[in-house]
């Protein structure tokens, strides 16, 4: 037997290196699993095809709703930023729970805030990979270019992504607290926000009592802002400011919840037990 003498030099204690390690872990996972890759873009693609045909029907039958074609498809694409972004965070943590790897990862210099950062990096990559084919399909089949929204699109994208990460981290907190028993929440939570996010209709369509609730969500401001760009050709700074401010509050609260859940998992011995 030959003894290992390498690896005795002082380790790198860079947080970026550890975040990169976890991102690499998920890249390897996707590289070796075509079904996971297909799942990334299958649903957004199906959604855009379905809503594209519905939009075409509207355009052919009503001049009043003619403008709705773009609105519906922009809504579908931006809503999927929310959905994919949240799934990207919570399903990436689920991958660690499914493979019973979470405890072992924390027997390393990894910090919980670095795990959260890595989940967001992975989420960003998953969202891009998931939405690019759908955006391309919208352009090829329906001549709808999401980029026509201009610079506002970048703002909408990141505002929605930040909110989706907040929801994703809150779901991760539930997973750390309750284990795989909370798995279903990872898939359904974001849908609970859809009706009051005013994705396909203005906030004023909602009952009066529900409108303040909707306006307390960054997503409702983003979709109002999206309609301002598409229907009136102006960037609504008011909605932008509200969305950004609410994002900061939601993200801060979700991160605090995530860190608290991590500490309770450490206290109750759930990190090494596999999360069941």
């Amino acid at each position: 037997m030959r003894l290992v003498e390498s690896g005795r030099e002082a380790p790198s204690l860079s947080a970026a290196r550890r975040i990169g390690a976890l991102a690499l872990r998920h890249y390897y996972l996707f590289r070796g699993s075509w079904t996971r890759v297909v799942e990334l873009f299958y649903w957004p693609l199906m959604q855009i095809l379905l809503w594209g045909f519905i939009s075409q029907f509207f355009q052919q039958h009503s001049s009043l709703i003619a403008q709705a074609g773009g609105l519906l498809m922009a809504g579908v694409l931006l809503w999927d930023v929310m959905f994919r972004g949240q799934l990207g965070v919570s399903v990436s943590l689920l991958e660690e729970l499914w493979s019973r790897n979470l405890g072992q990862m924390f027997v390393s210099p990894l910090r919980p805030v670095e795990l959260a950062a890595a989940l967001m990096v992975v989420s960003l990559a998953r969202t891009f990979v998931g939405l690019l084919p759908a955006a391309l399909a919208a352009w090829l089949f329906y001549a709808f270019a999401i980029t026509d929204m201009g610079p506002g699109l970048i703002a909408f994208f990141f505002l929605l992504l930040a909110f989706s990460w907040a929801i994703g981290l809150a779901v991760c907190a539930l997973l750390l607290r309750n284990g795989l028993g909370a798995e279903n929440l990872a898939w359904v939570t974001v849908f609970g926000i859809a009706p009051i996010s005013a994705v396909y209709y203005p906030v004023t369509t909602l009952p009066d009592w529900l409108q303040p609730v909707a306006l307390a969500l960054p997503s409702a401001h983003v979709f109002e802002g999206m309609r301002a760009v598409m229907l009136e050709g102006r960037f609504d700074w008011g909605h932008f400011a509200w969305a950004a401010g609410l994002d900061v509050v939601a993200f801060g609260a979700a991160l605090a919840l995530f860190l608290w859940a991590y500490e309770t998992a450490r206290r109750d011995g759930r990190l090494l037990s596999g999360g069941e």
């Binding site: 002082a10 976890l22 790897n101 210099p109 910090r111 011995g269 090494l272």
Partner: protein, 254 residues
């Protein structure tokens, strides 16, 4: 191996889960280069004790110091010097062995991951397995891959929870021999939880025997065997587990 505070120093370490006492006020030390065995039946508190040393479990009372630093602080520089292996904690099955080792090398801040993985693969006969999905490995192959992961950062303190459980005698012996050589070459300290008494006799300088969360006896394997008037650690373990040891026999006399 850096010369500094002892690798492990547990003082009054305790853990309760609600009303269940998992570990009750244990004190022990693992010195530089020592191999210490942690024995006890299922539920005796071995894994709980190790978890507190690794900082993945918060103690209810007492402190666990690793290289002089409170394990509960989860200091990255200290965590980079320890590692862990257990058959009950797995690596992601859908990654290849090489991919898993690379991810862990980067998590531990290993400077030249590829070189380190090549060296470990050569030493642990893992070269033919590097490209295989981890979930397709046999139990013995998984154990060798897990050992490679636990040595990826050339740890100064190695925590092993039943490293040879469910392995055939040949593979188990191979792993014990490798651990002996690694310890001799690097001077690393090892804390070994095991149910395999010949393994404990062979590897350990000192043994801590736990029952119901307490350390009920301790000493070198030879000293324990002599004190209990037995021939093997297996007999000592059974005496303590069943309460039929020399002490118990003396107590039972009128």
């Amino acid at each position: 191996m850096q010369t500094d505070s002892p690798p492990v120093e547990a003082t009054g370490l305790a853990k309760r889960f609600g009303k269940v006492v998992a570990v009750e006020s244990v004190d022990f030390r693992v010195g530089p280069g020592e191999v210490v065995g942690l024995l006890g039946g299922n539920g005796a508190g071995k894994t709980t004790t190790m978890s507190m040393l690794m900082g993945v479990l918060i103690p209810t009372a007492g402190t666990a110091r690793v290289f002089g630093v409170d394990a509960n602080r989860r200091d990255p520089a200290t965590l980079a010097r320890i590692n862990f292996s257990s058959p009950y904690v797995e690596m992601p099955g859908r990654l290849t062995v090489a991919e898993n080792l690379e991810v862990y090398a980067r998590l531990f801040g290993v400077r030249r991951p590829a070189e380190r993985i090549r060296a470990l693969a050569r030493d642990l006969d893992l070269e033919p397995l590097l490209g295989r999905m981890t979930r397709t490995l046999s139990a013995g192959q998984k154990s060798r891959a897990a050992l490679a992961k636990s040595l990826i950062n050339a740890p100064d303190l190695l925590l092993l929870d039943e490293p040879t459980a469910s392995l055939d005698p040949d593979t188990a012996d191979w792993i014990r021999r490798y651990l002996e050589d690694y310890q001799a070459a690097t001077g690393a300290a090892i804390l070994l939880a095991s149910h395999n008494m010949p393994e404990v006799e062979r590897l350990c300088d000192e043994v801590l025997i736990m029952r119901a969360g307490r350390i009920v006896d301790r000493g070198s394997p030879a000293a324990l065997i002599a004190r209990h008037g037995r021939r093997t650690m297996e007999e000592v373990f059974l005496d303590i587990a069943r309460g039929t040891g020399a002490d118990a026999r003396l107590e039972a006399q009128p």
